[in-house]
């Protein structure tokens, strides 16, 4: 079921805000958008890969993501000197009511990463479950289906 125009607008603004936080390396604020039981999942090779049986590009919960932000901030992290610069392009947003008052959101995603004189792009689709907590939307799960997930990848930022 399609959501109301207002809710659609709200969802889009939420996604744009998330992208802005990531682009500007406001990682701690990004963490605040997550529920404590969040799953951030980037499937490998194919979209319906089985994490119990196949390597994964990313499968992280809140603690791992928090640790990732600590790494990203660490002054001796060689991958962040200089930090890659990213832009997240989000289109084709659709939202529908999910279970237990959650929203199921899909959008297309194109992340550009500029580093070491090269620009690489990572095209795909994101699928979210958004849950309302304390009057705000939070990300309960984010699954990123890259159309390049079967190719050799270069280091990925938080998508």
């Amino acid at each position: 079921m399609v959501v109301s125009r207002d809710l659609q607008h709200e969802v889009e603004q939420f996604l744009f805000h998330e992208a802005e936080l990531l682009e500007n390396r406001r990682f701690e604020e990004w963490l605040e958008l997550l529920t404590r039981d969040v799953i951030y999942w980037v499937p490998n090779i194919r979209d319906d890969s089985d994490i119990s049986d196949e390597a994964m590009i990313s499968y992280e919960g809140y603690d791992e993501l928090r640790a990732r932000t600590v790494r990203l901030r660490h002054p001796l992290n060689p991958t962040q000197k200089p930090p890659p610069r990213t832009r997240h392009f989000i289109t084709n947003v659709s939202a529908e009511a999910g279970e237990g008052g959650e929203l199921r959101v899909r959008c297309n995603l194109l992340v550009y990463v500029s580093k070491d004189g090269k620009v690489v792009h990572h095209p795909g689709t994101s699928e979210y479950r958004l849950r309302e907590e304390d009057g705000s939307w939070r990300i309960a799960s984010k699954k990123v289906y890259l159309i390049t997930n079967d190719l050799p990848l270069t280091p990925l930022p938080i998508m």
Binding site: S49, I51, E54, S58, A67, R71, L76, Q80, L153, T154
Partner: protein, 423 residues
């Protein structure tokens, strides 16, 4: 220095230094493809990747397309993925199951043994046309050791087991951590980095770099091995000086590191009571615990890197002189608890994926080295750590060394020189 590639090779490898051109010269890379990757035994894949009749996976060896199949009789074959008619790749999927491969171009159809079994419009071919003369070409030599399939593009050379020598013992160590003595390989993650392939294989025996290159990963003190830590506890803290471990140089550029308790956080299998008890039944308590705690790296030159603690191996695929792809396969220990096997898959993925915690640091280091080596005024790459340690072979012919040593890398270069020096 301009290298006369054919004659200058011996000058490139010194006692404790190597010339920058082995990482930067495209002509040397071409020669490596011929003299190393098209000659010595290279790792192709594991039989458990094609468990059933008809299963196949496509890949490349020395940049040439191959297909590894399991035929209807259960034999694993490695064939060039190249139609015998006018050259098209006959199989364009990464993996699957099929008893035949039909060429998209003019419809020649080959069995998964390689036999040409159908030629459309046969009546238009010469009367003496014999499909028996056109099977898919098999790799000149294919042999496997306990499921690990190696191939050589050269018809001549030592048999696989003889070539592997002492490395078979360490393959046994890794495989026998499975209660059933068999592993099941999982679908891999792949990453690519803009630097020479040798930087990855040298890095795998380099225990000096970790506390510099990976400082942030360690300092984040998050459960690096997240899922596993949650389940099995972190163990005591990793010792950054890696005091207890040792390296062993084997033959033909192979080597291994035994961390011997230096990285308890990573060696979580020993904290799975169910696994330890399964192994205890087979080996007795003491040996079972040692097997479960085993934390070794094994390098089989030129393209296989194995990791016991997380149960994965990585395959090095040189693309060009300054571009390399690594394919990292987690594997499961057959007969081990499901949860433990799942923890291996997750820990391996997190360790080596392009979105992971550790290997991304090394990729950065490789890229920096490749950029630095563009400096022509400074021709030599220097090895200094541990090179004065006595190199006395033990009873197995292994040279046992401390942890902080660059000697295994020097032995890789010696094997490089041996292979590259022969026409």
């Amino acid at each position: 220095m301009t290298t006369d590639v054919q004659t200058g090779i011996p000058d490139l490898i010194g006692e404790s230094r190597v010339h920058r051109s082995i990482y930067t010269d495209p002509a040397i890379f071409e020669l490596e493809m011929k003299r190393i990757f098209s000659r010595t035994w290279v790792f192709i894949g594991h039989e458990s990747e094609v468990p059933h009749a008809g299963d196949y996976k496509t890949d490349t060896v020395a940049g040439q397309p191959i297909v590894m199949t399991r035929d209807e009789e259960g034999a694993v074959r490695v064939l060039f993925n190249r139609c015998r008619h006018r050259g098209a790749k006959v199989c364009n999927l990464p993996y699957g199951n099929s008893s035949t491969f039909s060429c998209l171009y003019h419809g020649w159809t080959f069995s998964n043994k390689g036999d040409l079994i159908a030629v459309p419009s046969r009546q238009l071919c010469p009367a003496n046309f014999d499909p028996g003369n056109y099977p898919l070409v098999a790799l000149p030599r294919v042999e496997s050791y306990r499921g690990f399939v190696f191939g050589s593009l050269s018809a001549e050379g030592t048999p696989l087991e003889e070539h592997l020598g002492r490395a078979t013992h360490y393959l046994d160590c890794l495989i026998d951590r499975s209660p059933e003595g068999e592993i099941q390989v999982c679908k891999p993650v792949k990453y690519s980095y803009p630097a020479n392939w040798k930087l990855q294989i040298e890095n795998y025996s380099d225990n000096i770099h970790a506390r510099f290159t990976h400082e942030a990963a360690f300092a984040a003190r998050r459960p690096i091995e997240s899922g596993a830590v949650e389940r099995y506890g972190a163990g005591s803290q990793q010792r950054s000086d890696l005091r207890m471990g040792i390296n062993r140089v084997l033959s033909h550029g192979d080597s291994m590191t035994d961390y011997r308790g230096d990285r308890p956080q990573m060696a979580f299998a020993g904290r799975d009571p169910e696994y330890v008890s399964i192994m205890t039944e087979k080996y007795g308590a003491e040996q079972a615990q040692a097997i479960a705690d085993m934390d070794i790296h094994v390098i089989i030159y030129p393209n296989l890197l194995m990791h016991s603690a997380y149960c994965h191996y990585r395959v090095i695929k040189p693309v060009s002189v300054d571009q390399t792809v690594i394919v990292g396969y987690p594997f499961k220990l057959k007969g081990a608890p499901t949860e433990l096997n799942e923890a291996f898959v997750q820990a391996s993925s997190e360790h080596i994926s392009a979105s992971g915690a550790v290997q991304v640091d090394d990729m950065e280091a490789f890229a920096r080295v490749q950029e630095g080596l563009a400096v022509e005024q400074d021709e030599w790459v220097s090895y200094v750590y541990g090179i004065e340690e006595p190199q006395v072979p033990n009873e197995y012919g292994e040279i046992e060394l401390g942890m902080m040593t660059e000697v295994p890398a020097l032995h890789q270069h010696r094997e490089w020189l041996r292979l590259m020096s022969r026409d």
